[in-house]
Amino acid sequence: MKILVTTKVGRGQVRKTVSGDWLRVGRNTSCEIHLPDPRVPLEQGMIVYRDGLVYMEGEAGSQVITRRSVRSERMHYGEPLAVGPYRIEMTPPPPGFDAALRVELVHPLEAAPALAARASELTLGSLGLTKRWAAWLWALAVLLIFLVVPMGRVLDLPWRGASQTALFGDKFWNPGPVTLAHQPIEPKCSACHEMAFQHVKDRACLECHKNIGHHVGPEMKPAAMFEGARCATCHREHKGVKATHRDDDRFCVSCHQDLKSHAAGATAARVSDFARDHPAFRVTLDEDGGKRRVRQGDAPVAQQTHLKFPHATHLDPKGVKSPVQGRIRLDCSNCHKPDASKRGFEPISMPRQCQECHTLQFEPAVTTREVPHGKVADALTVIEEFYANLALKGTPDSFQKAFGVPGEGLLRRVGDPSPAERQNALALASRKARQVGADLVEVRVCKTCHEIASVKSAQSTEWKVAPVRQNMSFMPHARFDHQAHRQTKCASCHDVQSSKSSADVAMPTIKACRECHGGSRPIEGKVMSNCLLCHGFHDATHPWNPNPARPVTKVAEATHAR
């Protein structure tokens, strides 16, 4: 039989003639009734001719429709069947056909959206990632945390309190570690940074460094000389734990290599480097008229001491004769004892260093007693008392040895002495005392070391001992540490081996220092030595005046005006 299948496609229709007793219905192209829709199974069902058309459908997934059909409907005119989204209706057959079917898609598949519809977010920007907002947000966060909050304290803003307790305070403004001595005040920025947007004032430094000395005395007019300089001109903080200044010669040399043009009244000689360009040392002498500084040169420098002391005799390699120890060899340390600081030495003292050999015995035949070292009158009194006592109580032996005549102490005799005997004894004792005293002072003992002037009058003779000048500091401005030089022999610097006079000043010359000390540049075999190794800048002998008539520096001026 012949069946006409008319399929509606859009507005038109497609006709197809099928010959046979059955027609397959399904998505498959081989189906006689082709339903191209994904909702329709590959082979949905069949229409078979059994005294009219019957539509049959198998179990889902089963293509063996005929045997196990689950749907079987006889078709009638005007009663279309719903097959998936399609409608299949039996229509009266046109001439020449046995049957006719009309197929129409009544529920068209909504067209799947094209890929373009699912390709909208194709850039990072379309995902909501943002450059602008992130930029503003991060920038504001940085400003807030590291600037706005911390500056509350220093600028006295309303959130002052919060900025002191905030996690991110002004400690993050600290550009670097401060020196060890300043670490106790490091957490408190305002200890030095008193005013916002202003340099640290000298006043803040002087709060603690009250006793700092100025570089020059008032006669040099430091106010003009250091105009505009602040403490911080030389001392930079936050530059490490070791120092606030550079330990080299730059600052010093900038003035001292041509000092006259900076300070007309300066007496210091020009200097630019210890090794190459440094004047001979100046030795400070303690003289009758006061202190005097003398530059070392070709002529030996002499310090008036009023003491007879030849180093050469005492350091004789053959030794000296000691009344106690026999002949002994002395060296420097027998007399020169380090002081408590070990940097310098104790002053030489007669009782400690000299008296063991240079005894002050006045009547060694009778006694080991010595006169006290000090005033002549005290010594003479002791002598007088001694002989008076001997004249009164002396044994015959002592009496004989002391006075050179036989006898014994007045009180040792039997019976009261007569007034004449008393007079005689007293006269004897006085005469002997005067004689011994004169001998002690002028000949035998005092004169050995001291310069003595005798003033003779009708009744008596008076002696004046010139006061001994013991200069403990020939170079008061130099920093020198004997302890640091202890591996060196004393004689390497102090040449006293052949000195016959205590006036010889045995201070080392610059040549001696230069044997070990180089200048500001490293040299093999020498200690690099810059100005500050021996010199200080702040001279304690010129105390910094906190209230000068004219302020020391411009900044200090502003400070003190407040």
Partner: protein, 277 residues
């Protein structure tokens, strides 16, 4: 016409300028005799700091200049070339400004941010030199839009033909047609890989499922699978293109916010230094 990159702009004019600037700064640094040690507070420190700060502001101005299409102050290429080279010289100048004094403070924060901005910028230059060529190689004469339209055509064709295939295969095609997507997430854009792509899944699953087909179905299967492979290949190219574009974009998401952070840190640095002068 030979293509000149921004690095070669005007016969390396800005490269030379940057080298001269860096060498001048280095020479000044070596010659300079600072009061205690080199740092930002000496006269040279202030000078280098000022140059550095002005450079930073000028480099930031590039973001404005490149949007001013009517500006006649040089070409944008010239600006970019200068931006790149002077930005690199900035590292030298600012490092010398620090005097190699670094610590846990806002000043070093600004320094590190400066380094990060420059590094991200250098990466940007690297990307701009490498990626466009890869983009051309990937797309050829095509454009992304054309690819997407062609995938749409393929989808229609593939789906129509797949009607004749068994349900499981049709389902693969159906999902490929209706669920395949492009972009949509950061990872998908930046890696160019869509782990859940139904098309890729279909390509992988297809051979095993189609093995049982015979006759006309097998022929149809070959056709449809061919279309599927074509689509898959086009998708890969499209995704690679998106990845390239994302990479061209991505560094700017660091470069720009970091630059603004740097600007803020620079303000903090300068203000805090002068508050505690």
């Amino acid at each position: 016409m030979k293509h000149y990159s921004i690095l070669e702009y005007a016969r390396f004019r800005w490269f030379k300028a940057a080298v001269v600037l860096s060498l001048l700064a280095a020479a000044a640094y070596l010659w300079h005799d600072p009061p205690i040690k080199p740092y930002g507070g000496t006269w040279l420190g202030y000078t280098l700091g000022t140059i550095g700060a002005l450079l930073i502001l000028w480099l930031l101005w590039y973001g404005v200049r490149k949007r001013r299409y009517r500006s006649t102050s040089g070409t944008v290429q010239g600006w970019l070339s200068a931006h790149v080279y002077l930005g690199t010289a900035l590292v030298v100048i600012v490092t010398l400004h620090t005097g190699f004094e670094l610590g846990a403070n806002v000043h070093t924060l600004a320094y590190i941010l400066m380094l990060l901005v420059v590094l991200s910028g250098m990466y940007g230059v690297f990307v701009y030199l490498r990626v466009p060529r890869a983009m051309t190689e990937n797309l050829g004469e095509d454009s992304l839009d054309a690819l997407i339209l062609r995938v749409g055509d393929l989808d229609r064709d593939m789906r129509a033909r797949a009607m004749g295939l068994p349900d499981d295969l049709l389902a693969l095609i159906d999902r490929s047609v209706s669920d395949t997507r492009l972009g949509g997430s950061f990872m998908r854009l930046v890696t160019g890989i869509d782990r859940g792509c139904p098309t890729a899944h279909a390509v992988r699953a297809w051979p095993g499922m189609a093995r049982k087909l015979t006759g006309a179905s097998a022929r149809l299967d070959k056709e449809v699978y061919g279309l599927l492979l074509q689509k898959h290949q086009m998708l890969e190219r499209a995704r690679r293109d998106l990845k390239h574009k994302a990479i061209l974009d991505l560094w700017l998401y660091f470069h720009v916010p970091l630059a603004f952070m740097l600007l803020a840190a620079l303000v903090v640095h300068v203000v805090s230094v002068f508050i505690y002068w």
